[in-house]
Amino acid sequence: MNKPLRRIAIFCGLLVLTLLIRDNWLQYVKADSLKNDDKNRRVTIARYSTPRGDIIVGGSPVTGSTETKSNGLNDLKYKRTYKDGPMWAPVTGYASQAFGANQLENIEDGILTGNDDRLFFRNTLDMITGKPKQGGNVVTTLNAAAQKAAYNGLKETGGKGAAVALDPSTGKILALASYPSYDPSSFAGASNTDAEAWKKLQKNANPADPMLNRALRETYPPGSTFKVVTAAAALENGLYKSADEATDSPLPYTLPDTHTELKNEGDIPCKNATMREALRVSCNTVFGKIGADLGKDKMLTEAKKFGFDAEQYTPVRTASSNFPEEMNRPSTALSSIGQFETAATPLQMAMVASAVANDGKLMKPYMVDMLQTPNLDPLEKTEPQELSRPLSAQNAQILQSMMETVVKDGTGKNAQIPNVTVGGKTGTAQHGVANSANPYAWFISYAKLPDGSSPVAVAVVVEDENANRDDISGGGLAAPIAKSVMEAVINSKK
């Protein structure tokens, strides 16, 4: 009987071996993916086990942490709080015990919780010395005054919209506002009230969709503001060499290959107008024809140089702005005046203004200036980075003079600031079936100080459901917001 006994012994050994192999698979090979699985509650527990690090604007935190009022069962010790939550929500995102985290709160979670590998040495040291683990800070590039101006300006119009301000020379995001917004504090916990608040903010319960980050994640038809891109394409491709050269622009203008007439808004002097004049009064015919003359490939190349058709990582991911890749000639003409399928995020249009203001150099937009260790030592600093060069410096200056004319005595008069040179472009984009919905009012601009430096470029978009349709124009609704944002930045420089 001993032979089968030995075989059974081997069999039992194999059973144990199988278990050992399985355990190695689970606890060694798959350990990290199981451990960091988003649905693994331990990830949330770790996230809230210590006071979270803060997100800092201009030296003071816009976030905080408070101890959860324990009912004995909540295994999460700390809860996130926000100062001026609705104003900063498009920047911070949210970190909720029950509903996860997004945007900066999610992307920089490792630093904020203190679990990042770069903090490992510190954490080990803390563990030995018995200090509790602390999270690091995220220092943003934002400008509190500009953000306030942007958010309050949008709030006053009462319509859905967004505003973005950039520092043209570095790409720093100075303001990033979206309206309507939400207060991430309202659902930061895990109680029933938090769940109610969360439910009420969801799109299906709230058609205004306050949780949508319109500044980064929503694309709008850019309308006439896109003519700046078209003008840049014309200059770069040598179609016209100066702002004051008469263009070959018939009026009325029929879209190529069709019998459809492209109309201007009102009776404006667009026949063979110069580009400066065409931009000042916003001629659809002139820029539509420029787009058609250049053709879709050249237009697409220029649009891509400005950042279209790509997602940006600020590090929060943006929606991809769209300039159609495949289209016929009439569509090219329409796309070149910001219609047809052209769509841009507010950030994208701010990038257009900033590239022009920065003498043709487009800087990569970013909002995290620095990551700090818990004791405020710098851990990582973001260096400004050039994204592309949509224009030569010379052409950029021509385009600047055109945009300055728009503000000086064109559609953008509302953005004038005393003693500051402002360049801008208005836009009123139609949308909806047969243009039935309220148009979007756009304004993009930059400010230039007497010393020639340009500290800020802005893009504002507002959809006003309450306004009389005829009243909406970029110059009327959006330009004053852009103006106050630019003023806020300039004043904070002083």
Partner: protein, 478 residues
């Protein structure tokens, strides 16, 4: 002839028995470790959770030490030649189990859903009862061959035990499996006891029938096919296993009994064909039942896609459980070295966290290293059991020892495999470490029987019958 006998001149079959050291002192030394390690673990849990050495440390240490000491003294007195590893290994597992059960008692989450809170003191009570049964076995079972007399009574007893959960009013359906009976407020798992009783029946039955089963066969395609009428018993056992599976919806118990029977049949007859038959029949039975029994089917689905099961359970779809996925997360989060005792979050498993799923807590808090050590301890117990079977001199003892160790090995495999997601989950508990009176008591009895068999096997053979040719050597022997 000199009085110093040269061992090499002796026949090797007797050298092992004559003059074998009793190894009782080895056992005592190992027992000290088996008590001290859990006491340290207990202090560790207290320090990690409450920042202080638990107040019950002394009484716990003394309690466990006392139980182990009494068991040791009884072994010393009544089974002096027993295997020295079995008692310390079982004590170590039981002690660690108590610590982890106590650790889960501290979880507010488990307290709130009444899954833990006072489990550890009860488990200590069960342990005392288990060791008492262990002592009773050693004192009253002077020779394991006595059990042979009760072969058919065992059969009846095993059947009754197995069918008890099906008796209306007595059986309790807990989380889908009907393997409990509830008597006077206590839940008892008769299957744990049936395991031992059934092994006695199989050993007695096979010892008598082994020749018929082994020899009367026809050769077909390289396999020895048993005669039709000899197939009877295996068919009956198979059928009973299927019945258990269908009516008690317990995959584990069914697999355990059938596996144990096939192992014992193979050892008794030395016919590989039984293994082939056994595997085919259990595969057919399992697949057949799993395809129409909803509870078993669900377990299989949870095994194939634990994440989907988790999502469904979170979405509030009835009848689904997050346990499997939670257990996998617990293992993964433990990683190589674990989070440390008392510092994991395995209470997220909620139901049965301290019984069926207790291995996940070991996995999270002691890590890969801890689980490997734990599995090797189980492996060692099985190895000592098989060694006992090898050393036993009577076929009944061999069959009983291999049956019990084989069943033990299968149980460890089925439970840990289930918790680790290797095979579908079953409703059995990890021997010695899991919370549950039936399991602890039955397994102490099992170890008691193994110790009894090993004592008989290792005991010096009675003085050989006098051999006239060896008369001279007998004389000079001191």
């Amino acid at each position: 002839m000199s009085s110093t006998t040269n061992p090499s001149t002796h026949h090797t079959s007797t050298i092992g028995a004559i003059g074998a050291p009793s190894r009782r002192n080895t056992e005592l030394a190992l027992l000290v470790f088996a008590v001290v390690i859990p006491v340290f673990a207990y202090a560790n849990v207290g320090l990690a959770i409450n920042n202080q050495v638990p107040s019950g440390l002394l009484s716990y240490g003394l309690g466990l030490g006392l139980l182990a000491g009494v068991a040791h003294l009884v072994v010393r007195k009544f089974a002096p030649y027993a295997d020295p590893l079995l008692l310390p290994l079982a004590t170590l597992l039981n002690g660690l189990g108590l610590v982890v059960i106590w650790r889960l008692d501290q979880s507010k989450l488990l307290q709130s859903i009444k899954q833990a809170g006072t489990a550890a003191p009860r488990q200590l009570l069960y342990t005392a009862m288990g060791i008492a049964l262990f002592i009773v076995v050693l004192i009253f079972l002077k020779d394991h061959r006595v059990l042979q007399r009760y072969t058919y009574i065992s059969m009846v007893g095993a059947l009754v035990l197995l069918l008890l959960p099906l008796v209306p009013g007595l059986g309790a359906n807990i989380y889908g499996a009907k393997i409990w009976i509830s008597v006077a407020g206590f839940s008892i798992q008769p299957g744990e006891f049936a395991k031992i009783v059934l092994a006695i029946f199989f050993a007695g039955y096979l010892m008598v029938k082994r020749d018929a089963l082994a020899l009367a066969s026809r050769r077909f395609m390289g396999l020895y096919l048993p005669r039709g009428r000899d197939l009877g018993p295996i068919l009956v056992v198979w059928f009973i296993s299927i019945l258990i599976l269908v009516f008690e919806t317990d995959l584990g118990t069914s697999l355990l009994f059938f596996g144990m029977f096939v192992i014992m049949l193979y050892v008794a007859t030395e016919r590989t064909s039984w293994i082939v038959f056994g595997l085919l029949m259990s595969a057919a039975g399992a697949v057949g039942v799993a395809s129409f029994e909803p509870h078993v089917k669900m377990r299989v689905q949870a095994w194939l896609d634990p994440m989907k099961e988790y999502t469904l359970s979170q979405a509030g779809v009835g009848g689904h459980s997050e346990q499997s996925m939670q257990a996998l997360w617990a293992f993964g989060s433990g990683g190589t070295l674990g989070s440390g005792l008392g510092q994991g979050h395995s209470d997220l498993i909620r139901f049965a966290a301290n019984s069926d799923f207790i291995l996940a807590t070991f996995g999270e808090e002691l890590g890969l290293a801890g689980i490997m050590a734990l599995l090797l301890i189980y492996g060692l117990i099985v190895e000592r059991g098989v060694r006992t079977a090898l050393a036993a001199r009577d076929p009944f003892g061999k069959l009983l020892a291999i049956g019990l160790s084989g069943a033990f090995a299968l149980q460890v495999f089925v439970v840990s495999g289930g918790v680790m997601g290797l095979i579908p989950l079953t409703g059995m508990t990890m021997p010695f470490v899991a919370y549950g009176g039936s399991s602890v008591i039955a397994n102490w009895a099992l170890v008691g029987i193994l110790i009894r068999i090993s004592d008989t096997a290792r005991r010096p053979a009675p003085a050989p019958a006098s051999n006239p040719d060896a008369e001279m050597t007998q004389v000079v022997r001191p």
